[in-house]
């Protein structure tokens, strides 16, 4: 059975149909791409999958459980991690603190009474967090203020924060945007390595087709809210319907 199974997803904004009967699935440990021109509805689909927006039709199964009515935080606790196209970082916190708070929330350690008797304090370094920092190459900047980091490091911190929850599925929203070529290649390598080590399933929204090829096995193509193709990256990109969606009619 697939880890994530979305069937017939529809989403409307007023009169605009952003998603029209979209279906997709991601298997355990699988990396899947989601490409499409700007405005195709990729981020909207992500928002629907992790609960930021409610769907108007269809259903979403995750790990065998129906999740389309659950709030964002419950889906996160079930094992859906997410990164954002426009960085969403916690101002005033260091990378290490970003990972720590995610790890603690994941452990369910957020009880107020525990804090009041001093049980919630961070005293010793958490092995999982230290491991992740090293794995992602954030060791050198772990205690720097988040505002001083580059976009590339910011993306890694978001990735680390999501991984600190030990997710079954990662939703990655255009991780290469704002990165230079070297950083993009590096980030793709990190993703491949993370998946090899942790077997985390990934759903990747991305414009950079090179990046997509490096990371995923197969991909979906979304255009104007409709799923127009799916399959292996190169085969899909060769399909006429996809070429016309990206480049217009080729005569």
């Amino acid at each position: 059975m697939a880890l994530l199974e979305a069937t017939g997803i529809s989403k409307r904004y007023g009169g605009i149909v952003a998603l029209d009967n979209v279906s997709l699935f991601v298997d355990q440990g699988e990396a899947v791409g989601l490409v499409g021109p700007n405005g195709a509805g990729k981020t909207t689909l992500f928002d629907c999958l992790n609960g930021v927006r409610h769907i108007d039709g269809g259903r979403i199964l995750f790990d065998g459980q129906r999740i389309d009515r659950l709030p964002v935080y419950e889906r996160a606790r079930l094992g859906i991690g997410r990164t954002f196209q426009r960085l969403e970082l916690f101002a005033g916190m260091s990378p290490r603190e970003h990972l720590m708070v995610a790890e603690r929330v994941h452990r369910g350690d957020g009880r107020l009474w525990k804090d009041l008797i001093g049980r919630g304090r961070a005293s010793a370094p958490v092995p999982r967090v230290e491991e992740l920092l090293v794995e992602l190459g954030l060791g050198a900047v772990a205690d720097d203020p988040i505002e001083s980091l580059s976009q590339g490091h910011g993306r890694l911190v978001e990735l680390g924060r999501a991984l600190a929850q030990d997710p079954l599925l990662m939703l990655l929203d255009e991780p290469s945007s704002g990165l230079d070529t070297r950083e993009t290649v590096g980030f793709a390598a990190v993703l491949v390595e993370v998946r090899a080590r942790r077997h985390t399933a990934m759903l990747l929204v991305e414009h950079d087709l090179d990046f997509v090829r490096r990371v995923v096995e197969r991909t979906y193509v979304l255009d104007f809210g409709r799923m127009i193709a799916s399959g292996r990256v190169d085969e899909v990109m060769a399909e006429p319907v996809v070429r016309s969606a990206y480049f217009g009619e080729v005569t």
């Binding site: 709030p71 935080y73 916690f90 708070v101 957020g110 804090d115």
Partner: protein
């Protein structure tokens, strides 16, 4: 029907004033993205200038020119050019706090200039206030009412003609639709923006001058309430529609008078609910209108096209400095404690004990605003709930005052949960407005009953007694208050250092990301709101027990605004900041007491101006100075040779 009309017609003049303000508010919010809370203060400024001019013997038209045509637009323009222009893309917290600073500073500055004597019988703009011009459905229509309605209609007619038939009007309408598109069309949007500020300030000034004679005395507070009424009317138009805002204002004025007519007279409900109607309407609208909620979730009409706001973090910090400050703070606190028990004169011990009670209330603002990024404008109300609970339980049920203080905190927390639950989906601006309206509702209705605040008479709270230990003496009570402060500070520190504190910081940074790592934002917000309300309640009860008698005036909504501004100025991120704020609050008040009464206005001016520096120094301008001084001293000690 005649009776209905006879109740409804006197509401029209109020409705007109609400409508003018509502239209002006929507105009500037739509075009500049700043929700101008200082709008009420602008109306007050014009009303005051008009009063002063007319009383100095100027003819009405000259007063009108000075107050509405000159002073009002200049004031609005100055605010836009020197303040709002720079914070358009700032986080909603910054915008609100800055506007709040202006709201508090402007009326006080005016009173400092023109004197703060009572100003009775404000003059009517045009027709004679006493004269009855005609009767309509049994109502005698006097000059004030008639001129208000006529002038409003004339101005609205002119404004809509201008907006439809002139070049600048077309551009203004385009600006209201989308400021960015106007820029792209090659129009100097700054210039159109200035025109809009001038127009909107003119409307505020006009509303102020028209409203003043409807009350017996010219008071700044009436204009804060006018502001909330205008906000409610603007909310009826979802903060976007000018016609809806206008008719919302008219409707609100009429319904207010209808309520006054139909409700049984002589009860708290009829005397309180009539003025409180706009606040009730605002709360209901915030909760019920999904469009409004959605709008406020994005909280800024310009969001999405502007770059993300700069991060909010202390500009001077670092680990060594933090530890030094903490150590130094403890030392100062110890010296303070010993001094109060030994050489400090008893009237100053009393003052400083007041400061401790305020510090505990201010801790709630540190927790809510500094640590969680939420804005509550009703913390004084929670303090009142704590005090009145303690008083009622102690006098009517014989509960010990100790338990009463605890119970005060508990009841405040329970009310906090009730307020927070519906307000949860609201963020930023909407939460601020909902809590402001809640506070005003408590002022006008909730605290007026004999079982709560007992209106103007107030309630008595004895000093606590624990077995044979008696806290009636000033020093003993000081020790008790000091211990309570330490306990409350420890609670806030424990929350900050624990997981909850990290989650709060995460929520402040990005609600979206906090939710997607599994944080239950709803629960977190309710919890922090309840704890903050409890802290305020304990502080309020302690204050009440110190004073002996407290009335709703000790905890009114205006104080909530002042509290916010004071804490933001002295340091909203740290426990030390709250204690600095509490002490600064009482000490400054005591010092200003030695000066002529007019100079007491310096207090709100100083803190109001402090608040508008929030964008530059989010850690608080006082805290920033303190850090700078400490850092300089430290670096001097480390590298003495570099000096000179």
């Amino acid at each position: 029907m005649t009776q209905f009309l006879s109740y409804a017609i006197p509401g029209l003049p109020y409705g007109c004033v609400f409508a003018l303000m509502a239209v002006g508010l929507v105009l500037t919010y739509q075009t500049s993205g700043v929700f101008n809370l200082a709008y009420g203060a602008q109306a007050y400024a014009s009303a005051l200038v008009f009063y002063v001019c007319v009383n100095a013997g100027w003819p009405n038209w000259a007063g009108f020119l000075a107050a509405v045509v000159v002073v009002a637009p200049l004031l609005g323009l100055a605010m836009d050019r020197f303040l709002y222009r720079f914070i358009r893309s700032a986080p909603v917290l910054v915008k609100l706090v800055s506007a709040l600073g202006m709201l508090i500073a402007i009326p006080s500055a005016l009173q400092l200039i023109f004197g703060n004597q009572a100003r009775l019988a404000p003059p009517s703009l045009w027709l004679a206030p006493g004269a009855v011009y005609f009767h309509l459905a049994g109502d005698a229509i006097n000059g004030t009412e008639l001129s208000t309605v006529i002038v409003t209609l004339a101005v609205v007619l002119l404004a809509s003609l201008m907006s439809h038939f002139t070049q600048i009007g077309l551009r203004m309408r385009a600006m209201a639709e989308s400021p960015r598109m106007v820029q792209l069309a090659g129009i100097n949007s700054e210039r159109v923006g200035i025109a809009i500020w001038v127009l909107s300030s003119f409307l505020a000034g006009l509303a102020g001058v028209l409203l003043a004679p409807l009350f017996a005395e010219l008071q700044a507070l009436n204009f804060t309430e006018l502001l909330v009424a205008a906000i409610a009317a603007a909310a009826l138009g979802s903060l976007t529609s000018l016609p809806l805002a206008f008719w919302g204002g008219i409707g609100l004025g009429v319904v207010q008078e209808l309520l006054g007519g139909y409700l049984p007279s002589g009860t708290v409900l009829s005397s309180g609910l009539r003025p409180a109607l706009p606040f009730a309407v605002l709360i209901v609208l915030l909760l019920a209108l999904p469009g409004l909620r959605e709008r406020w979730f994005h909280d800024d009409p310009l969001a999405g096209c502007d770059p993300p706001p700069p991060p909010m973090a202390a500009t001077i910090g670092g680990h060594g400095l933090e530890e030094l400050l903490r150590g130094g703070g403890s030392l100062v606190l110890a010296v303070f404690f010993v001094s109060c028990l030994t050489w400090v004169p008893s009237n100053w011990t009393f003052t400083l004990t007041q400061g401790i009670a305020y510090s505990i209330v201010f801790l709630s603002i540190v927790l809510l605003t500094g640590m969680s990024g939420q804005i509550s404008l009703c913390q004084a109300t929670f303090a009142g709930i704590g005090a009145f609970t303690c008083a009622q339980l102690a006098t009517h049920f014989g509960l010990s005052v100790f338990m009463g203080i605890v119970a005060g905190g508990a009841v405040a927390a329970a009310v906090g949960v009730v307020v927070a639950m519906p307000a949860l989906r609201l963020g930023g601006l909407a939460l601020a407005l909902a809590t402001l309206a809640f506070g005003l509702l408590a002022d006008n209705v909730g605290f007026q009953y004999s079982w709560s605040g007992n209106g103007e008479t107030g309630v008595n709270i004895p000093r606590p007694q624990l077995g044979s230990l008696n806290f009636t003496s000033g020093k003993a009570f000081f020790v008790l208050a000091f211990i309570l402060l330490i306990v409350c500070s420890a609670v806030v520190l424990a929350i900050r250092q624990g997981t909850t504190g990290r989650e709060l910081a995460a929520m402040r940074g990005s609600e979206l990301a906090a939710a997607s790592i599994g944080t239950n934002l709803a629960k977190l917000k309710i919890t922090v709101f309840a704890v903050a309300a409890a802290l305020a309640g304990v502080g309020g009860a302690l204050y009440g027990s110190l004073q002996g008698t407290v009335s709703p005036d000790d905890f009114n909504s205006f104080l909530s605004l002042v509290f916010m501004v004071v804490v933001v100025t002295t340091g909203v991120y740290t426990v030390q900041g709250a204690i600095q704020a509490g002490m600064a609050y009482v000490i400054l008040y005591q010092v200003l007491d030695y000066l002529p009464s007019q100079w007491r206005n310096l207090f709100p001016i100083l803190f109001g101006l402090g608040a508008i520096t929030y964008a530059l120094h989010p850690e608080g301008v006082v805290e920033w100075q303190k850090r700078r001084v400490v850092e300089t001293v430290v670096s001097l000690r480390k590298h003495p040779e570099t000096v000179g």
